[in-house]
């Protein structure tokens, strides 16, 4: 019996240690200005927020920018805030990539990786859709073109339709 209990404890602790450090659906998102100090993140209370983690060295991240621009153009006036969080170590590469991509939404540099450590993206890009109450509604990992965009549209429209 003791052996079984020990094995059970070990299994639980392994699961807990491997699952630690990544944000999940249903979890409350902390205030972004605390995670990204000095980045000029606006007050997003009562708004639907899409936090997207990207890097200049990540191919799918590059492919996701036109999609995010389209979402911004379509839904920003209805209450969607898209925040692209660049995680490059090199600030020059971050700036060069951000300038080249022509993002119409807000992009910020997570130079200290404070935000990345909280969200713990499992792959690049990863995005977190947050509802009007500040709770993470869904997590998207990777970018698969039109399929991912269709998922974004469905979820964003549902969240925007919900009352604050």
């Amino acid at each position: 019996m003791k052996t079984i209990l020990t094995v059970f404890t070990l299994a639980c602790s392994t699961l807990l240690s491997s699952a630690a450090g990544s944000a999940k659906a249903g979890q409350a998102m902390p205030k972004l200005p605390q995670l990204l100090p000095g980045a000029g993140v606006p007050n997003t209370s009562g708004k639907v927020v899409l936090v997207d983690f990207w890097a200049s060295w990540c191919g799918p991240c590059k492919a996701s920018f036109p999609c995010l621009n389209r979402l911004h153009e379509k839904y920003a006036s209805k209450g969607l805030v898209i925040i692209g969080v660049g995680v490059d170590d090199d600030a020059a590469k971050y700036k060069a990539f951000a300038g080249k991509m022509g993002a119409k939404f807000l992009i910020v540099h997570d130079s200290s990786h404070k935000a990345a450590e909280f969200f713990g993206p499992s792959t690049m890009p990863s995005s977190y859709l947050v509802d009007r109450k500040g709770v993470i509604h869904s997590v998207h990992t990777g970018f698969r073109g039109a399929k991912t965009e269709a998922e974004y549209v469905t979820e964003i429209e549902a969240l925007l339709a919900a009352k604050p």
Binding site: K2, L10, S13, T14, S17, A20, A55, C58, H113, M124
Partner: protein, 76 residues
């Protein structure tokens, strides 16, 4: 040492050590900038790699070359 003591030591040490392996060994997805640099690629010369692979699968065609299929004349 009594058996229960061993179990307690293992039960405490295992999660502690596994936590160490998480923070010390694993490069997190957002820290892979250096690994993504072209200089970190397996081969720096795509043409040389393509020619080497072509030579390999031609030479080893009778046993499937670089794939899982077997047999063939090896005449390409």
């Amino acid at each position: 040492m009594k058996r229960p003591a061993i179990f307690v030591i293992i039960a405490i040490a295992y999660p502690l050590l596994s936590a160490c392996s998480d923070s010390l060994v694993r490069v997190k997805p957002y820290e892979r900038g250096n690994l993504a640099r072209p200089v970190m690629a397996e081969s720096l010369d795509p043409l040389l790699q393509a020619m080497t692979e072509h030579g390999y699968f031609s030479r080893e065609a009778s046993s499937g070359g670089g794939g899982v299929g077997g047999g063939g004349c090896g005449c390409n």
